[in-house]
Symmetry: C2
């Protein structure tokens, strides 16, 4: 059987999974593609490092990318180094050398996707990156193919496994933020510097890519409002639960009258909503559209084997395209002018959690602030007081993001108020 030869850049956990999966499922893959896909070469930092793995799968190791670029037998380059450079240069050089590219690099796609897609297009090569968003969930291909007939209005998802694990433990076990972070780090979910996870940056990269697929719009990372879960109070999680909600960190992208707004932040999701049942490190993407109305895609967001499986499914697509002679078509062919929604046109319900000095008239004061911003309150609850301080929690009716900002500003102006949290409440 004919061979399709692949080079893998980076033999880390995901990279090592690629030859494993190609071997394990060789029979089925050959049946579907008509070729045998093999990892021929791998780029590593140090040739001494992966000798056993290379021997086992008969992979030539190299520390010199030129050896891969100049090898005419290599038809596909799989980039799994991560970060921006040298990954970006390597991908561009691969495309310019006539090789197809598969990558799982969300940072790169979110920040430089347009340039990479244009380069692939120019050289009529394939560029696939299903694993960049929500690891094992085939959400990009689903949006590009199955929802092509549909008009997506909103995409919201649990896009970061680390923070979902932390929030699950805080909700189910009553852990504090610090406990949850320690445990996530001990389990290897969170890096020693958890910034990208807990501040919502990782999720924002994925939101940028989802926005390209769902709405055909390229959104700058700076235009995605990022609110993480850093330092989140477990009191608020418990409070939300009492009110019938589970707090989830959601990445969302929404279309309103042809414009788009994207953000990452904690959201109070109704306890009986499918997203609320997504536990621990699992991810899920919930899509609203005018045809199908609602659909959800659930699976592991990371992990060596799920991510490697997703990478291999992209390699299979490349293999099929080569065989059919249809390489070079865009993964996502939906493109539309990028227009951002104004804060005055973004609507949601909000949850405000405020520490107040425990004295008469605080309910009235908070109500006034919200009313003066033109919004109104649906639920208002005071939690137990320690005699000096009490916590007031308010859930509003629909209000705009601009009004929310105004309310937050006014709360912060009152010396005896401390705004602990202002989260979105799920709205359909």
């Amino acid at each position: 059987m004919e061979k399709l030869k692949v080079a893998v850049l980076g033999l880390g956990t995901v990279g090592s999974g690629v030859p494993l999966i190609l071997k394990e499922h060789q029979e089925k893959i050959s049946l579907v593609t008509g070729v045998e896909i093999v990892v021929e070469q791998a780029l590593v930092r140090d040739e001494a490092e992966k000798v056993d793995l290379a021997k086992h799968y008969d992979i030539q190791l190299t520390t010199d990318y030129q050896e891969i670029l100049s090898n005419p037998e290599i038809q596909v380059v799989v980039e799994l180094i991560g970060q921006i450079e040298p990954a970006k240069t390597y991908i561009i050089q691969a495309l310019e050398s006539g090789k197809h590219v598969v990558t799982a690099n969300k940072d790169l796609l979110a920040l430089h996707g347009k340039e990479l897609v244009e380069t692939a297009n120019k050289h009529q090569r394939d560029l696939y990156y299903e694993a960049a968003v929500a690891g094992g969930i085939p959400i990009l291909r689903t949006i590009a193919n199955s929802l092509a007939a549909d008009n997506i209005t909103c995409v919201r998802g649990i896009l970061n496994g680390t923070t979902n694990y932390m929030l699950t433990k805080m909700a189910n076990e009553g852990w504090s933020y610090e406990q949850a972070l320690d445990e996530a780090q001990a389990l290897g979910f969170a890096e020693s510097d958890p910034t990208n996870d807990v501040d919502g940056i990782d999720a924002a990269y994925k939101v940028a890519i989802l926005t390209q697929f769902a709405f055909g719009m390229s959104i700058d990372l700076a235009d995605i409002d990022k609110k993480g879960i850093r330092g989140m109070s477990s009191d608020d999680i418990q409070m939300a639960q009492q009110l019938g909600y589970i707090v989830k960190l959601l990445g969302s992208s929404k279309k309103t009258n042809g414009s788009v707004s994207a953000e990452v932040g904690p959201v109070l999701v109704p306890a009986d909503h499918p997203l609320a049942s997504v536990q621990n490190e699992m991810n899920a993407v919930y899509v609203q559209s005018s045809g199908v109305r609602e659909s959800m895609y659930y699976g592991p967001g990371a992990g060596a084997k799920p991510t490697a499986t997703s990478v291999v499914s992209d390699i299979i697509t490349v293999a099929k395209n080569i065989r059919l002679g249809i390489s070079g078509h865009m993964f996502n062919s939906y493109a539309s002018e990028t227009v951002l929604t104004k804060d005055e046109d973004i609507e949601s319900k909000y949850y405000f959690s405020v520490n107040v000095e425990d004295k008469v008239g605080q309910f009235l004061k908070l109500t006034q602030i919200i009313t003066e911003a033109g919004a109104s309150i649906d639920q208002l609850i005071q939690q137990k007081s320690d005699g000096k301080q009490a916590r007031i929690v308010a859930i509003t009716h629909l209000m705009t993001k601009a009004q929310m900002a105004e309310v937050a500003k006014q709360i912060n102006r009152v010396s005896e108020f401390e705004l602990v949290a202002s989260y979105q409440v799920w709205t359909d």
Copy 2:
């Protein structure tokens, strides 16, 4: 822009949705396919019937299928008549006349899929039927494309919206089976003869198609064990809830050592499992595989707009294939010899619910029956007695289907025992 002309057979609720969605999303569809897709002709039973609709979308109505077959401008036939005949003949004639076919006909695909696929293959035409399984959920395309790199071990799903609606109401509102059925009929979910839904036949069709995609195996409908929810006791649903389970009607297909077993039946699903949160008429398919491990696909299983959207996504695929010159490739190219798993090799935990005469020694007797079958009990609970009769509920450890059948047989042999239910309990 070039036009791709389509004929729709049957302008019922789904059929009427097709021109609607093609019109509503025309811009996006043209962007993705490079052509304008239009419904040119429609086959109806009575030309007087759909005059307004036809006028609105500029569709030629006909009662004579030959007019469509002999129209060289029609490139795609969309079959939405349902049932076996004349749908089957129409599809075969369309393929033989060189037209591509899209259908949502699950009965036909489950019973005659092999013949239809062979006909399409012979004439190098496209045959797509994404909407045949779980309406708005793109599960077939996901299995065929995104999970091609994976080794699926088990597919289980809530595949029938009517029964899921009924079970949701029985669980959440305490309705009886009869109440739930009445309401499902009043809402138009259930037919006046609900047999196909409540006896698990509808779900079994879908299981047959899922088995083809997940394992490449053609399973006869007769080889799918069908246990429905007809007459289900709400006591058992409440009992399951107390034990931490939600009862769902699942269609399942499982691979064990290269053989496959498929069945439809009520299953006790742990309350915190994602399938347990699938409420009302929604569907979901939960896939276990060696690479991605677990993933779930959730959405509407029926309904005019979701189903029509799915049909249009198939038409878009046909349009893309025509444009790329790659028509005639199989929707599902995974094929493997069909081998059925023996009942001795099918393992599950089971839930037995038994009405007993309320006297000493009944626990012992039931325990003996289960032990003698070579199985063992995990939980054993007696519900309140009315003085004469009590109900005993047992959940077993893993046992084989053959052992389960033996236990059921022995229980039925005891004159003071009445076996009310024997359901599977979810096992990973």
